[in-house]
């Protein structure tokens, strides 16, 4: 089965690229291809340039279901990804303290995942991703498992993190509002097999975007119009499993 077809994309450094498309269009597959968790049957994923100094894991994911080890504390979950890269002792301690502070988790150092709310769990996952100082953050519907209010809070946090230290992000979502808030570039895919439908560029700085803003609403409507028929058709499709 062909999931993605004839797709050529350039991801720009230091900017957030949002990928949207109807359900089952291969967005998540595309993201797994980017990070080397999936092998393309044809075609290539190329990275150009060197990863920044101190980068332990250039292509780093934030997963929809958080993927935290339930038997490790918040600090232990961050520590996990440092241990294997030989970060030890005081350095490790400092890195953990730094990323937990940046994600507002400093007070939850020793908490277990089962004690945390969904939003906190995703903050831990973001802290873990920041700890390895990635060249590219691959975010796979990171806010989809959260309720609408928590989603707003985490979007603000992501914007604050990016503003402090711009990172290259690839952000897969089916939520058009998230794409309009976070994307410098929005890639619209068609339904399966996923092809490039359109690429929308957004010049407005992230900090100037607010929920309910008229031009963002207009953009969302435009994106929805691009996708509507496709989404309807995808919804009617029988899956061939």
């Amino acid at each position: 089965m062909v999931v993605l077809e004839d797709l050529s994309l350039t991801i720009l450094a230091g900017r957030i690229t949002c990928i949207i498309g109807p359900s089952g269009c291969g967005k998540s597959t595309l993201l797994r291809l980017f990070g080397g968790l999936e092998r393309p049957s044809e075609g290539q994923i190329l990275q150009s340039g060197e990863a920044p100094a101190g980068c332990l894991n250039p292509l780093t994911y934030v997963f929809q279901d958080f993927a935290l080890l339930p038997w490790r504390s918040v600090a232990g979950n961050v520590s996990l990804v440092l241990e294997d890269h030989g970060v030890r002792g005081a350095t490790r301690h400092d890195v953990i303290a730094d990323v937990l502070a940046r994600t507002k988790l400093a007070d939850f150092h020793d908490a277990l995942p089962k004690q945390l709310s969904g939003g906190m769990k995703q903050r831990v996952a973001i802290a873990r991703a920041l700890a390895v100082n990635p060249a590219v953050m691959l975010l796979d519907e990171p806010l989809s498992a959260l309720d609408a209010q928590t989603r707003e809070l985490l979007m603000d946090d992501l914007i604050a993190l990016w503003t402090r230290q711009p990172f290259t992000g690839i952000y897969v979502t089916h939520n058009l509002a998230e794409a309009a808030r976070l994307g410098h570039q929005i890639v619209v895919l068609s339904r399966r097999p996923g092809r490039l439908r359109d690429v929308v560029e957004l010049a407005l700085p992230l900090t100037d975007r607010h929920p309910g803003q008229a031009d963002l609403e207009a953009l969302q409507t435009r994106l929805w119009e691009l996708m509507r028929e496709e989404a309807e058709a995808a919804d009617q499709e029988l899956s061939h499993v």
């Binding site: 968790l37 894991n57 994911y61 080890l69 038997w71």
Partner: protein, 264 residues
């Protein structure tokens, strides 16, 4: 026009067995009291069941003469050594089956073939292989605890959340780290609940092995009592075995509560 307002009837609840402390103990005491009463009043003949108070006296006697330890210590030694061998090997093989395709393909049918064999039937064979002494008893208990542990262990490895393993790979963790830090801790709940079954099977086989050739041990004690139709001593032995079962199950429960505190 408008009817009188009626409160909505509650129809949820139930289907949620809770914990009631002491209920189990009360059932025990009630049952023993019934038997005591029955044997004293005569509607239970003393050929059917021994009087619980006499079993108690036999037990006190066992304790005072020091015979209890003469029988219990060798039994405990056999149970511990045999179970330890069987469970360790079982976890090792089970985890390997869970991790490697070829080991799985090769060993799962073998384990399935070994599982239903009554291990007691193999005791004569073990006596030839490992001698009439402790060796054959260790081997019997080890083999008996091995198979259920293997099945529990590879099932537990299979059930480890794959998204956690993908996460480990995506952060560039080495294979050995993924096994040590993600697969093994993730499989621990399943392995521990398998151990409950394994240890119980170990106790059953311990008695079987001791019945077939041992001077001392709970099994030997029960066998002697049985051949003399000494019901008090027979039941004293059975009570010791039950206590052993409750004790090991409690110990595993303690370990679970300590190690699996992270469970939701």
């Amino acid at each position: 026009m408008s009817e009188a307002a009626r409160p909505v009837q509650f129809r949820g609840g139930g289907f949620k067995p809770g914990m009631r402390r002491g209920t189990g103990l009360a059932v025990f005491i009630l049952l023993i009291a019934m038997i005591e009463w029955g044997t004293r009043a005569g509607w239970i003949s003393n050929l059917t069941l021994p009087r619980p108070s006499d079993v108690g006296l036999t037990f006190v006697d066992l304790w005072q003469t020091g015979l209890l330890w003469d029988h219990l210590l060798p039994s405990l030694g056999r149970l511990i050594v045999g179970t330890l061998l069987g469970v360790t090997a079982g976890i090792g093989v089970g985890v390997l089956i869970g991790l490697f395709t070829y080991i799985r393909a090769g060993l799962v049918p073998l384990v399935a073939a070994m599982f239903p064999i009554p291990k007691i039937a193999l005791l004569p064979l073990f006596v030839i292989w490992f001698g009439i002494g402790e060796g054959s008893k260790y081997a019997l208990i080890a083999l008996g605890t091995f198979t259920p542990t293997v099945v529990a262990a590879y099932g537990a490895v299979d059930n480890v959340d794959r998204t956690l393993i993908r996460m480990g790979q995506s952060f560039g963790l080495s294979w050995i780290s993924i096994v040590r830090k993600i697969v093994l801790p993730g499989a621990l709940p399943g392995i521990l609940s398998g151990m409950r079954v394994s240890v119980a099977i170990g106790i059953i086989l311990l008695v079987a092995a001791e019945m077939l050739g041992a001077e001392f041990g709970i099994g030997a004690y029960i066998l002697q009592a049985g051949s003399l139709y000494d019901l008090e001593r027979l039941f004293a032995g059975v009570v010791i075995l039950s206590a052993l079962g409750v004790l090991t199950s409690w110990a595993i429960g303690m370990i679970e509560r300590r190690v699996l505190r992270w469970r939701v």
